[in-house]
Amino acid sequence: MWEFLSRLFGRENEGSKAAAKERLRLVLVHDRTSVSPYLLETLKEELLDVISKYMEIDQAGFEVNLEQGDDSMALVANIPIKEMKRALSKTKN
């Protein structure tokens, strides 16, 4: 009977904890990723180094950004390629 009563009284409020958790999760995804432009710049430089081993990139058009959706974050990179390196296509065959 207690179970029934507490369920009866609890029902109206159901989900306020879940709502808190979900809102917190989202706000932290954003907080944590938007912390430092320095981090993004470092990431960009390292990406550039790695990719340059395999292909020639148009550095002026190279962009790395974080984009926020309704309930997700994505790392979006735009990497225009000037030329593939021949050595690579040979070894890969």
Partner: protein, 264 residues
């Protein structure tokens, strides 16, 4: 061996930093350690009032920094134990009257004489926060089970790391067991999952803590009060003892009634 300096911080205001500092300090002192409490919230001092020592202040932290008195002259001895002193801050000075390097030097001096130095940090992440963390060896973060407080705690974890303070521990304050049970408050597991730092203690919200603050008698003196018991347990954990966390579930009126009628 020099003492250990702990900064008690939170980001958000009003979550119980000062209350936690007072209780942990008194608790440690009553267990035989020499403790110095430092209020670093210049311009908005509170720790003296929470400790019930507001009538004894002659000199303050800014006087020490400015050389108006010696450090020993500004330390106020607690009325309950000789092991505890308070270094109050100035109420009428600007909050940037103290610089982080000066604070660091001061804490270093205190560490020569005391086992524990607890620095009560102001809310916020600006000047006062940087002063408070300047001399600290370890950090304790206080939060409450609310979205805004946990969010600020997360930010503080990052800022502490940037100041070289890794692995802070967490006190979750003002937990309402009845609301957790109803699903209307985030529980400890939720918060620890999100912040991913070790839990130092859980303090229930009860009337005892308000009554004790009214009187200037930290609640840790009152072992019959759940919040007092919780702070006592945190003190023992700080000493390295393994103390189980309080079971806060059995507090509600429904639980009491159920036990009364033999349903559990």
């Amino acid at each position: 061996m020099p003492g250990k300096a702990l900064v008690i911080t939170s980001g958000k205001g009003g979550v119980g930093k000062t209350t936690a500092t007072a209780n942990l300090g008194l608790g440690l002192a009553l267990r035989g350690h020499k403790v110095a409490l430092v209020d670093s919230d210049t311009g908005l001092r509170n720790l003296d009032v929470v400790m019930g020592l507001e009538n004894r202040i002659v000199y303050d932290l800014v006087d020490v920094i400015e050389g108006n008195c010696r450090l020993a002259q500004a330390l106020i001895r607690d009325k309950r134990t000789r092991n505890l002193v308070l270094l109050p801050t100035a109420q009428s000075k600007e909050k940037d009257a103290v610089k982080p390097e000066q604070m660091k030097e001061l804490v270093k001096q205190l560490k020569e004489e005391f086992d524990y130095i607890l620095v009560d940090s102001p809310a916020g992440i600006e000047h006062g926060f940087r002063n408070a963390v300047a001399g600290a060896d370890e950090a304790i973060i206080v939060t409450t089970p609310e979205v805004a407080a946990v969010r600020d705690a997360d930010r503080i974890i990052g800022l502490l790391e940037a100041s070289g303070l890794y692995d802070p521990s967490l006190i979750v304050n003002r937990v309402r067991p009845d609301m957790v049970r109803r699903g209307d408050m985030m529980d400890i597991t939720d918060i620890i999952d999100i912040l991913a730092i070790p839990l130092l203690g859980v303090v229930p919200d009860d009337e005892g803590i308000i009554v004790s603050t009214n009187r200037g008698e930290p609640v840790v003196l009152n072992g019959r009060c759940r919040s007092g018991e919780a702070f006592g347990n945190i003190v023992r954990r700080l000493e390295g003892e393994e103390v189980p966390f309080l079971d806060l579930r059995g507090d509600g009126i429904f639980e009491k009634l159920k036990r009364l009628v033999g349903l559990r």
